[in-house]
Symmetry: C2
Subunit: 116 residues, 2 copies
């Protein structure tokens, strides 16, 4: 995934309304008016968000003139997942170290319990 595309994806995700739209589309394709329902927002405001998502490759629009259903393009999110991959080991390592520390603490507690 090109750097600019990834930047566009992250920028598109930096808005709670746009993430809510993606959550709705994860359940199935939907029209603009259907997507607008849960938000106290005008259709033009929703359309603006959809354009940002579309430019970022996160959604596509159907070609039917009257009802242009929006569809989630999960592969754009896979690009984010791939980018995260290099960092995943960092927090996993930190959780591993925390687990070792906690099990050492528990062993220490057990020792003290036996001494009582």
């Amino acid at each position: 995934m090109a750097a600019d595309r990834l930047s566009a994806t992250f920028a598109a995700l930096a808005d709670p309304t746009r993430r809510a739209i993606l959550a709705q589309l994860a359940l199935g394709d939907a029209s603009v008016s259907k997507l607008a329902e849960p938000f106290a927002m005008s259709l033009p405001a929703i359309s603006k968000h959809l354009k940002v998502l579309e430019r970022a490759g996160l959604i596509t629009r159907g070609r039917e003139a009257q009802w242009r259903p929006c569809r989630l393009e999960a592969k754009a999110l896979k690009g984010v997942d791939d980018w995260l991959e290099d960092y995943r080991r960092l927090w996993e390592e930190r959780f591993d170290r925390l687990e070792i520390y906690l099990s050492e603490l528990q062993a220490e507690e057990r020792k003290r319990g036996r001494r009582k």
Copy 2:
């Protein structure tokens, strides 16, 4: 992770220079001048990027007056990973369907091969 924090994290990641800074910090803590080295950028420009990363919780700064090392806070990226979790099954399902389709194609090819 609160919605606003997640928005700030995504906004901070929507820039190739800031992602490059995180990649550098994944190798270890570093000073601002060390981080500035690979970029054709002034220290104030780098500092501005670091402030965005810091506000998003992606890095922390040491308290030493002279050398305030930057540290990657991988747990903020874990927030992104947790958010992705709901979508992961979507692209995995699609890949599964593609795999089934490809293995059907291969089976068909083998059948044709035997008929020759």
